[in-house]
Symmetry: C2
Subunit: 339 residues, 2 copies
């Protein structure tokens, strides 16, 4: 399977590390062999080699800050425009891991459409195109007879999407509710030990959970973006951000946290979606709920189903290898379905 | 898809109810149409109709205690020997839901082998054959080019097997630990409210969680049987009951339960398996563990993986429709892979 990556930050590098370190295991267990033939970034340049790029050299160049540092081997093609390169590259799958834009999905959405139109499957960890452009993606995928996969967009590689869309087939899912943002859950957990909101946020930033500008996390927009994706994956309803009620955690005080603890409850930023609509906001969850037990940067989702009742999946919601695995699991799924 | 059921107790009837009530939904969403052509039981007789049995009549007869009460329609064939019928029936899948024998797997194991040998896929909710005869099952399945599926044997239909074997592909699972028996978890949960072991057991029996002879549950053998299945599904290691350390919950006193509560812990009957071996026994679990939050008759399993860290699935571990769904999800999987 020949891969082209668009974007090559933490997650893209995580995938490449996995492909390098698990090469023998993936081949022997699943008959899966992958080659990275192209990497395209906006800030670090682009690389293309029809026979495949050397993964060690690629990671080394990226970690030193520029794909220009990839050794000058025969046949390597550099610094093409991203869209031109997508159309030109002979690859089976486009792996979209460029930065997320939850308003327009761009420029990643155009990259994905160009990939389908040039005969490639598309796998994303980038939420934007799926949250904003699902119909267009499916339409182009259908026309090309190619597959769209996006496990890594919700709860990193913890298989929230695959659980709902594959393992629970035969059930009707009536509702999903979960803790879909690790930063806010980490902050709320730290506040339960008496830490102030500001200190907990600073610590989350130090640990790399929260961005320098934490608004996307603490104001609920990251969770809301994931909810738009679940709305499509579970119910195929075309919600927009404006359709959701979104409230963050910045209004939760230490006193609020203590009051909940005294009542045997925990504040959680709960994202909830039904076929009627969705919301993100802080909720006092009773300790009897499986979501109450989810501490730190961990994520969780509960699916409410007709035949099984409630099914809850708890796991990592971020991380280099965790999100890299989300991409890998989609690649293995495509390998199995097309191999 | 033509089905033959062996066994027609609660779980088999649950599957037939689902097939009846979801007929239109299963056809429109998955292109799945199933027909029950035969039902074979040891105590209620057998039925076979090459054109399919009427599901309402079938459920009615079973609920009235005997398949002999199925109406005398043209073409129906009654009271054959089970093995003879398995070999004779034209069906795509044998659904094995007869009573479990964790020592020999029999007679169900012979039924499954005969099904493979006569060209049928096999789907089980019956733990015995998978726990005891996995090698034989796989060998006959392989020779026949047919599929073996057993989602319903562990945590009913909550997709513990499909999560490990399909959704987590690409990860190496190093360990599984979980609460795989609902009866014991219900008893331990009730004891935390001050109820005695004997009273909690009586209540579990009243609610239908525990058998009249509760030894299989409270002494850990039910969980151990599921562990043998996970040992195969996750690690393909051929463990026997004698290889496991198995201890039940009957030695846990109210004082033990209170002492754990005072220390911020909960007693749980934890089944644990690694490639080196397995055990079932009561463990004091800290409240920070996702397994500590699992109350009542609910089940849960945590997979410890190389790329994702810990992934925990929480859901129902028993029930008519829940286990029926486990069977249905296997049938849909076979439908997808062979359709």
């Amino acid at each position: 399977m020949k891969l082209m990556l668009v974007g090559f930050g933490v997650v893209g590098q995580g995938l490449v590390e996995i492909l390098r370190d698990k090469r023998a295991e993936l081949e022997s267990r699943y008959g899966f062999r992958a080659q990275v033939v192209a990497v395209a970034t906006r800030s670090k340049g682009t690389l293309y080699h029809p026979d495949g790029l050397n993964l060690d050299w690629l990671l080394d160049a990226a970690q030193r800050g520029s794909l220009a540092l990839y050794p000058p081997v025969d046949g390597v093609i550099r610094d093409e425009g991203i869209l031109t390169l997508i159309r030109r590259v002979e690859a089976d799958v486009l792996v979209e891991v460029s930065p997320t834009n939850l308003h327009t999905g761009q420029p990643a959405l155009s990259y994905c459409l160009a990939a389908f139109d040039s005969g490639k499957h598309v796998v994303l960890a980038n939420k934007g195109p799926v949250a904003v452009g699902y119909d267009e993606l499916l339409e182009h995928a259908g026309q090309a007879g190619k597959l769209l996969r996006f496990e890594g967009t919700v709860m990193a590689g913890t298989p929230s999407i695959r659980l709902a869309m594959q393992a629970l087939r035969g059930c009707v899912i009536a509702e999903a509710r979960g803790i879909l943002n690790g930063t806010t859950n980490y902050i709320l957990t730290q506040m339960e030990s008496g830490m102030s909101y500001a200190d907990a946020l600073a610590q989350a930033q130090q640990l790399g959970y929260a961005e320098a500008d934490p608004a996307g996390d603490v104001d609920g927009w990251d969770a809301a973006g994931k909810l738009l994706i679940l709305a499509r994956a579970l119910f195929n309803i075309p919600l927009k951000m404006d359709d959701l009620e979104v409230k963050g955690i910045s209004g939760i005080s230490l006193d609020d946290v203590k009051a909940a603890q005294a009542a045997g409850e925990r504040w959680k930023l709960i994202a909830r979606i039904t076929p009627e609509g969705g919301s993100v906001g802080p909720v006092r969850v009773p300790l009897s709920s499986p979501l109450a037990a989810v501490s730190g940067a961990t994520n969780a989702v509960t699916y409410v189903t007709d035949l099984l009742g409630e099914v809850t999946l708890v796991g990592s919601g971020a991380g280099r290898l965790q999100t890299g695995f989300g991409l890998l699991s989609d690649l293995l799924d495509i390998h199995e379905r097309t191999g």
